[in-house]
């Protein structure tokens, strides 16, 4: 017995002593990644972009530094990104990686920029492009991939699940359910069951409602796509279902424009208004949803009464909503940059399911990978069937179409013009 007590006490002492030891690192750097360069390599890599902040990428820098501690990675926000990019790529301070957008492919101004983009589909680089959803990968005529999406953009609404539960309602999956839910909420005293930014056309909720429907209409009518891309007024008619949907939601009291106009911007204020906790559905894009995580702590109301929320497609047809899957931010590698080998090594590290999902999770944007289930907020989009998942880039929808539908929807939603007027004015909106 005495020996037992002695052993126990000795073990306790040893255990206490082990408490003095330092904490083990919780996570090892990218377990599946095998470095191909010397870990002592010392160099500098710059990523240039238009985001003010890019914490998700900076977190990846830190992880990459655990493998290559002497590589100094930094993110630089360029002022007037779209205009200055060409100059920057030709200057003394060339970035290694830079943001690129699909619309640049059709713009002559970016010809020199395209010249600088490395072909990321080159097998020698060993990038795992298969992890990206095929609809998001943009290949040129030769099949080269110059841009790799790191986030994707979509349209939908933030749903306050706690309010639905409190009022005994289910998240709508069809248009009729949506109308019924709005009616139910209104009857329970919610002045505007659906809300969104409505002060300016850029980022307004009307476009968020109308754009997916317009894309879907164009997808069903390929002959209209050419007309629409050419800004032919004849294509205006194809906007009608989308514009009517906006008109209907506003007209039937699902959305109170007056309340929406109180939201001062289409990002932080939209989120903070949603976090007040009295808005069942907040219409916004995935870009806005990306700001929710960080702002949870900045909202007094949310801190006091946190609730569960999700981002879902807006059910605007009896079949359900659409998942408009288009690249948000894409990375291109500057092939004339310094330290190209290490730059490609970083891209090889980054373009994996694990790292892209992690980055999307931090940034709370939609991941470009095939797995959407890892983030509960975006999980509903993973359940949208493939026939209602559309990629405007794959369909061939050009940027001018976006301008037309956005302005038309905004003005219809605000009651400035009728649907008929908007249809007639297709191609004239600026």
């Amino acid at each position: 017995m005495k020996k037992l007590i002695c052993i126990i006490l000795t073990l306790c002492t040893l255990f206490l002593l082990t408490a003095c030891s330092s904490k083990q690192p919780e996570e090892s750097p990218a377990a599946g990644f095998k470095p191909s360069l010397s870990k002592d390599t010392s160099c500098k890599i710059t990523v240039a972009g238009s985001y003010d902040n890019f914490e998700a990428l900076e977190a990846e820098f830190d992880k990459f530094n655990e493998i290559y501690p002497n590589v100094r990675l930094s993110y630089v926000k360029l002022d007037d990104y779209n205009n200055v990019l060409g100059t920057v790529l030709e200057g003394n301070d060339k970035p290694n990686i830079f943001f690129s957008y699909t619309w640049m492919t059709v713009n002559e101004q970016y010809h020199s920029v395209f010249e600088q983009m490395e072909d990321l589909s080159d097998s020698a680089l060993k990038l795992n492009l298969d992890c990206i959803r095929p609809g998001l990968l943009n290949r040129d005529a030769q099949g080269h991939v110059r841009m790799v999406p790191v986030f994707s953009r979509t349209y939908g609404m933030l749903v306050n699940k706690a309010l639905f539960e409190k009022e005994g309602l289910s998240v709508p999956t069809t248009q009729s359910e949506l109308m019924a839910v709005c009616e139910a909420f209104r009857s329970k005293g919610y002045a505007s069951p659906m809300m969104g930014y409505s002060l300016k056309s850029s980022g307004c909720f009307m476009n968020t409602i109308a754009y997916p429907l317009f894309v879907a209409t164009l997808a069903k009518n390929p002959e209209a796509l050419t007309l629409a891309n050419n800004l032919d007024p004849a294509a205006g008619e194809y906007m009608r279902p989308a514009l009517e949907a906006v008109e209907k939601l506003v007209g039937q009291g699902c959305i109170d424009i007056g309340e929406c106009d109180k939201i001062e911007d289409n990002y932080t204020k939209v989120i903070l208004r949603f976090f007040e906790g009295d808005v069942p559905m907040m219409i916004c894009t995935g870009d806005t949803v990306s700001g929710t995580k960080k702002r949870e702590s900045q909202s007094e109301a949310f801190t006091k009464s946190p609730f569960e929320y999700a981002f879902t497609p807006i059910a605007l047809t009896e079949e359900g909503g659409y998942f408009i899957d288009s690249p948000s931010v894409q990375f291109s590698v500057n092939k004339s940059c310094d330290n190209l080998e290490m730059t490609n090594e970083f891209m090889r590290f980054l373009i994996t399911n694990e790292e892209l999902n992690k980055m999307a999770s931090v940034k709370r944007l939609v991941t470009p990978t095939k797995d959407l289930s890892f983030d509960s907020v975006y999980a509903p989009f993973g359940q949208v069937p493939s026939e209602r998942t559309m990629s405007p880039e794959v369909l061939g929808i050009k940027d001018p179409i976006s301008v037309q539908i956005r302005n038309a929807a905004f003005q219809v939603g605000k009651g400035e013009i009728t649907v008929d007027e908007a249809v007639k004015r297709y191609g004239t909106f600026e």
Binding site: N53, D93, S297
Partner: protein, 845 residues
Amino acid sequence: MKKSWVIPVNVVIMTAMLIFVVLYSRYESRITTERQIEHFENTAITMEHVTENYLEGEQRICDVWARYINSRGMTIEEAIDFIRVSHVLQKASVHIVYLDTLSGLSTRPRHNAPDDYTVSYERMDILNDVRWIHEIGEAINISRAYTNPVNGEQSISFCNSIMVHDSQTGKPCKAVLLRVLPLSELEQKWVFPQEEFKNAELSIIDADGYYIIKGHSFKNSSFFEFYRSYNETGPGSPQEIFTNITTSTGSMTMFNSRGEKCILAFTPVTAAGGWSLLSLMPMKDLNVKSENWLLIGFVSAGLLILFVFDLAVMLYFNKRLQAAAVEAEAANRAKTDFLSTMSHDIRTPMNAIIGLTTIAEKNLGDVESVGDNLRKITMASNHLLTLINDILDISKVESGKLNLSPLTFSIVETVENLVNLSQPMVKEKNIEFNFRISRIDKEYLYADQLRLNQVYINILSNAIKYTEPGGRVSVDMREEESKKPGCVRLTYVVSDTGIGMSPEFMATMYQPFSRQTDSRVNSIQGTGLGLAITKQMVDLMDGTIDCQSEQGKGTTFTVILDLPIADRQREDMTLEPMDVLVVDDDEILLQTAVDTLESLGVTADRAGSGRAALDMIKRRHDSGKDYRVVILDWKMPDLDGIETIRRIRAEAGSGTAILLVSAYDWSDIEDKAKEAGANGFVGKPLFRSKLYDKINSILGPEIKSVEPENDYSDLQGLKILIAEDNDINWEIISAMLGMFGITAERAENGRICVEKMKQAEKGDYTLIFMDIQMPEMNGLEATRNIRQLEDPWASSIPIIAMTADAFSENVTECMNAGMNGHIAKPIDIKLVIKEIRRIKENEKS
């Protein structure tokens, strides 16, 4: 306190010490950290001063240009040309931008268009509102970091509002002069000056937290956003922190993008309103903890080792204590057993003494019965004496008080004594006894004779005791060269054909009171202490004792001792040349005797039997060359010594001296031998000195006949002074001496003895027997006083101690006091007579 509490208490103390060390280390660490942070803050403030000086310097250049341009009423082209001439920095450039169009000219062209010097800030937000640009010389007007629209480099600009004139209309136009410096240039120069803070990074932020200049570790576009992203904040709470950062000097901790705890030092940049200089460094780079953890680790390990060591020592001592307790218990039991054994062993002879005394008293008239009783009483008394001596010895051995008292002694005398002592038992048991010596050159040795005797006697008496009648006991003693300088190696081997010992008994035979449990042994008297004492004695003399034994066959004990050679040795012993015949049936003894005789210078022949001897003597006699001496063993097969002597005398007459040799007491054969014609006796073993003396003595002027052993006439008329306080002892000794015709006079104590000697005339006393323990004056003091007397006869009179203090140290003490000999009580009258004769011999010489 309960024993089981020792370990918990130790653990609690250890834990308490560790907690103290940890707390103290943390305290020290905190103090060091605070000092480091203070140092870091001060360095940041110094950096702010340096930065401010730099910014002011750069701004001043800008101010000079602006004033010059304004004073000269230049057009934008003239202004650009002027600056291009005066501007020397390779990587810097200057832009002049009209405020109304936010476009203008640069001192450097675009990369892709070498002739294009135009620049536009239309889509840059830094010049949308220029209220931050103060009047010339009033303040530092520095932009945030932005992308230079001409070359795309991240840059900052020092600005001034200027007026340039339209080249065509001459109208003045408001414009801004921007001295544009690439951040890459600035970053190279703008590093933390202290080597110990090499990982610290600097940033300058404006009042809204936006970076003017951004260090690598600073993330986001705004420091406040950076702080919010990686640090736990509640709604509104960071505002207080941000206000503090932008308005005061100090430091705080925060987490960087890697989750590392960092120290942030902040101080306002005085020259630029609302700006703050921030320096950020991971806490681990303050380097204050490692030594503390080393200390804690060291103390922990030390305590643990101490704990384990203490535990081991404690367990070890516990085991020792347990063993000691068991030993103590065993000792206690042994004491009880000892007392019980002693009680039995003492009572047995005492019973015999008392019982036989009673019987003798009742049969005073029956002389034969009384004589028999007295003989048995003597035997019992001797046994009792042996027992008491052994008990005293073993008690001294066990208490570690047994010391050796070396004296010069004769090994010949020792052996003779040994033979003499063993004779009665050998004779009684009719045992064949042989004592052989080999090469004993050094007669006098320096050792504790008493203890040596004890060892030899113990072994020999055991051999005799445990040998059945008709058995054989042989002793071999040889002298060899010793490895110890000044010593000889004396090997003493006693072999018997006795009952032998079992291996089990041999394992414990040196322990006190060990006696073999054997029906044959039970009838033999013994204390069980002899071997224990012997072993201790041998150990004390740095010797070895070895035993080989087989039950039923016999035992051989071998004692090897290295004994120092005494300074005194016999002078050269050489006999006149003569022919000597040695006769013995023992081949070894024969060879030894021949060797010894030849070493004395005589010619020795040998004969293995009486008949062979007779033939040799007859041949010699017939040839007229008689042997001068014949040394003849008594016990020989076929023809024994006496018969051989008889025949020699018959055949060769009396011209040859004959010495009869025997290992036995010859008192029984003395008359027969003399009658047969023997000239003398010599006892085995045949020492060189003994043979020399004996041959010399029988080859005197005429061959002597054997001296009568029971002739005490030489003692007649001696007068001895006896100092003895005990009446009975006085009575015994005086009566015993009286039996030999010696007169005794008593002194009741030491003082009276001294007085008597003072008054005595020369020759009044032959010697003094001195008791030691006496009232008034003890024997030692009395001896010392006598030795100091003026009368030379009195002061040199022989004094023999006669005392019950029988240990060797007592003997030494007596000798040191000036005595000439020692006789232990109870007294053996033979020893007393021997001692008196020795004194007389010494006087004569």
